[in-house]
Amino acid sequence: MTVPKRIGKIRFGLISPQEFRKMSVVKIITADTYDDDGFPIDMGLMDPRLGVIDPGLRCRSCAGRPGECPGHFGHIDLIAPVIHVGFAKLIRKLLRAVCRDCSRLMLLEHEKVTYIEQIKTLVRLGQPTDDLVSKIFAEARKHKTCPYCGAPQQEIKFERPLAYIEEGHKLTASDIRDRFEKIPDADIEAVGMNSATARPEWMILTVLPVPPVTMRPSITLESGQRSEDDLTHKLVDIIRINQRFQENREAGAPQLIIEDLWELLQYHVTTFLDNTVSGVPPARHRSGRPLKTLSQRLKGKEGRFRGSLSGKRVNFSARTVISPDPNLSINEVGVPLEVAKELSVPLIVNVRNMEMIKQFVRRGPDNHPGVNYITRSDGRRVKVTDKNCEEVADQLETGWKVDRQLNDGDIVLFNRQPSLHRMSIMAHRVKVMPYKTFRLNPAVCPPYNADFDGDEMNMHVPQTEEARAEAHILMRVQENILSPRFGGPIIGGIHDYVTGSFLLTHGRKPIDRQGAMELLKKYDGIDLPPPAGTDDSGEPYWTGKQIFSLILPRGLNLTFKADFCPSCDQCKEENCENDAYVVIRDGNLIQGTIDSAAVGAFKGKIIDRVIKQFNPTIASTFLDRMTLLALRGIMLSGFSFGIDDEDIPPAASDQIKEVTRVARENVEKLISAYNAGELEPLPGRTLDETLEMRIMQTLGKARDSTGQIAGRYLGLDNSGVVMAVSGARGSMLNLTQMAACVGQQSVRGERIRRGYADRTLPHFQRGDLGAEAHGFVESSYKDGLNPTEFFFHAIGGREGLVDTAIRTSQSGYLQRRLVNALQDLEVKYDGTVRETRGMIVQFRYGEDGVDASRRDYAGPENVKRIIGRVLATEGR
């Protein structure tokens, strides 16, 4: 797609009164808007020359209809000049730096020359000039008499919001304007202003531009009453005061009244520009709501800059709830039929695709892969309906654009907010499906950080060939398996995928022919290997490891420790009795169990190796097959977790009770030692802190040992243990809390101390330092908590919730700042990293020029592998 016009640069400046008049299409003199018939009044605030918003009318300036006409500015001639609030500070500085008599900048000629040089240098280097300009103003202010005319300078006091007082007299806006008019251009340059685009007298308004009606549309309420925009209200005020001012002045009203009116005019213009100036009471709507005037429209998150200009709204998008479908490829997304019928992909008719497109058109808009609209070569759009589809299909000519409904295989972008990293938007292939949710393979949940508890996601359909090509090459899921954050796989097995792989490959359980067929029935072209052996009745059997080997690519060699490896003191490697030492030779799983260290998201070593040794396509096929196999694997043995999985034998609960009893006693001993003054303080800690730390330690250890006791009775036949051990979900700590003991509840890393005077709850003695009085929960979730324990647990839980709430806002702002500071950086063709000015930030990206997601190719491991490979082959 070519960009028809390119904006090269944008120059900022002040607008002179002459220019305001030149760009104005009408002088506004009356504060009225519409007449009784509802037509805009001429020379009023809704003058039809300012543009139109009512349907049926045409703009008197450009003859455009509403929507076509962008609107045109008008103007109001202010009877007396007023100050622009935004420049109040600068006006103050200038008044103090400029002679009150001859209006020259009070610096010596040679100083001005050097300062102008310095400013120019800074501008050329793209550096900020603020500090230098402040210094120049400070220098100029030092002169007590003008070096040119010798007039003594008077102190100028500034009073909020907008009064400049010299020798006890308030300077009027006209006085200031008169002084500024006389400042020579050269002097203006010396204070960092550009005399061509910003004469200082332009900071004092004599003409007020009236924004076009298109940016302050009035809305008609249901009652037929018109409700005007805030800006219009403010303009009405300005015109009214302006008129009254004029009448009074012409009538020769006393000075006091004139001054009051002038101040009122200043107030209205000020609030028109900015309604949040400190010291100025904000202008209010009749209802008491402060008006939203010009600068409020620009500021903030929903303002013009961040809300309307940096954030665009798009067509060809859809949003709905997501749900899982493990039968989809990771590269696919299931799209509801209703969505597919609404969204479309443009096709340009040519000689080759004419027949194919005709068939689509003949299907009309209601038979799924049909057509919604057709744009003819003259630009006219035709809606395709059931009735006209045959006719339109016959008329079809080359060069027409046909909006074909979304179909299987189309490429779309899929996104989940918050979009924290680039993997939050990836390209998927469409798979049109029944029902109303987007479907995705759970293996792609980690990059989106999605789950299926009601999450919604967005889909966008690229409309040009370039966009589709970029999406396909750069954004497809398989191209984003490796995260640029740490160079490892971010897509991989979660939950049941890990459990399934674990159950399938752990040990050497025999699987009979039927079982093996069941596991493999979703695959084409896979032959069953020779059986691992025969059982007692002579039937052949296979092992889970053999079956898993079938989905591994040939040529893959890998050895690593599984996630559940207990890290023995002396690793027995291939003789590991836990089956935790994984050995893969030429794509055959010889040894070990597949768990989250092998196929899990973030740490799956097999995925990592496959994508780096082979390519993304092989890796995505592997993932697709792994997800299917893992689910078949989990179905083969069956898997569930229920309340009775948390049961432990009475012997275990007795032991646990004993442990907690001993811990409580130990805490009591510590307390009595503390009370007797026998406790040795830790270096650098007070006695109180020491006691707290020791108690926390004791209770922490007690919780751990209860967990170990429970763990001894819960083996791999327990589903919870399988999930925790394989890294699928949860941890042994969670199991401990459910089955044995919840443990100490804490607020800010300390035991709970707040509550009543000298005690946490009225159930305890004052000054009780014991375990249960400060939030130690001895019960397990299964047994249930007693009332005080429950309350302490709620305290701890609440802290967690507050923590998350604060963290999201803080890290969101951190992210926004980081992105804003770094977004313009780019690697240039010479390998340097530069920002927009061309300033070099890094001479070589990351000191070695290596892409973080491909860093392993330039790592020592890879070098070792290459050396090994070359030396081995040559040696033979």
Binding site: I7, K9, I10, R11, G13, G86, F87, L90, P128, G192, T197, A198, S295, L298, K299, G300, G303, F305, K312, L420, H421, R422, L474, R485, G487, L682, P683, G684, R685, G749, D803, I806, R807, S811, L814, L818, V819, N820, A821, L822, D824, L825, E826, K828, T836, M839, V841, Y845, G846, V850, D851, A852, D856, Y857, N862, V863, K864, I867, V870, E874
Partner: protein, 379 residues
């Protein structure tokens, strides 16, 4: 067979980063390699290195920002944590990361890790001596302070053991106090009791004097509130609460090459901007690692480089990098919208529309990544 010198020459003649060169040396020295094998190895290493290089036009900045920002959501908010030493609190997690990126003048918990020279590092007593010398000693470390309302006196009772331990005599204490408070100090009988009286015998003056005396640092470095000694491996390392790099580096026994502080601005002032850059990288990496989050150094380096690339440590945000951008529109779209536009008008600024935000605003393709590629076709 090639000898080591020949291998070395072949390796160093190539444009490879040091990590690869080191790996090649390690793998090839002491192994018999033929010329052909070496060529083959180097060819493959070069090919892989080429494959690993970043592509031109890559938007590395955004990737770095996302790579650091995204794990932020997973970090803990708990401000205090005991890192390494149980006795000293250090800010960790998200607050610490924000602090680093903010380029605060003083971190919320300044600490130093002081390593000692060989002679001192192995000796517990020598290490303790350095610690006493560095640690700021106040009157409360040496004894107790009390007021005598009848006499309008301040009574300071020094403990003889503390005096010996901290290597200071009662006379020295008296002298310091007299100097700092500009008052005469009575030491009846040259013992361990010091008596001082305020200039005017008023209750208020008396209490103020007590507060002043309590705050006074009698010995050691002002600002280093506590020093903790810990044995790491076979050397003693000092950890401090409070930081004063410049003064600590001058102490006898302190190894200036291995001593560091977590105050980045201070490092920048004492050791220069390159040291500050490395300090940002180290601090950020440590913070992320402590949380168990893997982030490639390259991303952290880029953040560190943009913060330090014009010679002073600048904040990531309105008062630093973002506030000094060339483009008016980019600045206006970040924060303090209106002021940026008003100032731009006064200066007559020109926006060249090279950055990302500006082009999004005017609705043009951005000049980055695939938007920065220009192809010239031959007709």
């Amino acid at each position: 067979m090639l000898n080591e010198a020949e291998v070395e020459e072949a390796i160093t003649s190539l444009d490879l980063p040091q990590s690869i060169v080191a790996a090649l040396r390690e793998g090839l020295f002491g192994v018999s390699v033929t010329k052909e094998q070496l060529d083959q190895i180097l060819e493959q290493v070069m090919a892989d290195y080429d494959h690993a290089k970043v592509e031109p036009c890559e938007a590395v900045g955004v990737v770095a920002a996302q790579s650091i920002g995204e794990p932020g959501t997973q970090m803990t908010m708990r401000t205090f944590h005991y890192a390494g030493v149980a006795e000293i609190n250090v800010t960790l997690g998200l607050p610490r990361l924000i602090e680093i990126v903010d380029a605060r003048k003083v971190p919320s918990t300044p600490t130093m890790t002081i390593r000692l020279t060989e002679q001192y590092a192995g000796d517990r007593d020598l290490a303790r001596e350095v610690a006493w010398a560095i640690e700021s000693t106040s009157i409360l470390h040496l004894g107790s302070i009390a007021t005598d309302l009848a006499e309008m006196n301040v009574l300071i009772e020094l403990s003889p053991e503390a005096l010996v331990q901290r290597k200071i005599t009662a006379e020295e204490v008296a002298e310091r106090l007299g100097e700092e408070m500009r008052l005469s100090v009575d030491q009846p009988g040259g013992g361990n009791l010091l008596i001082m009286a305020p200039e005017e015998p008023s209750y208020r003056e008396l209490l103020q004097l007590v507060e002043k005396i309590k705050k006074l640092s009698l010995k050691g470095i002002d600002g280093i509130k506590r020093v903790v000694i810990r044995k790491e491996g076979d050397e003693y390392v000092l950890y401090t609460e409070g930081s004063a790099l410049k003064k600590v580096l001058q102490f006898e026994g302190v190894d200036p090459g291995r001593t560091k502080t977590n105050n980045i601005t201070e490092i920048g002032e004492v050791l220069g901007i390159e040291a500050a850059r490395n300090a940002i990288i180290n601090e950020a990496t440590d913070t992320l690692r402590e949380q168990g989050l893997a982030v490639d150094v390259r991303h952290i380096m880029l953040v560190s480089d943009i913060m330090t690339c014009d010679g002073e440590v600048k904040q990531i945000g309105r008062h630093g990098v973002s506030g000094e951008k060339a483009s008016v529109l980019a600045r206006a779209a970040f924060e303090v919208t209106v002021n940026h536009i008003l100032d731009a008008a006064i200066r007559g600024d020109v926006d060249d529309l090279r950055g990302v935000t500006e082009n999004v605003i005017v609705g043009q393709p951005i000049q980055l990544g695939t938007g920065d590629v220009q192809l010239v076709a031959k007709r």
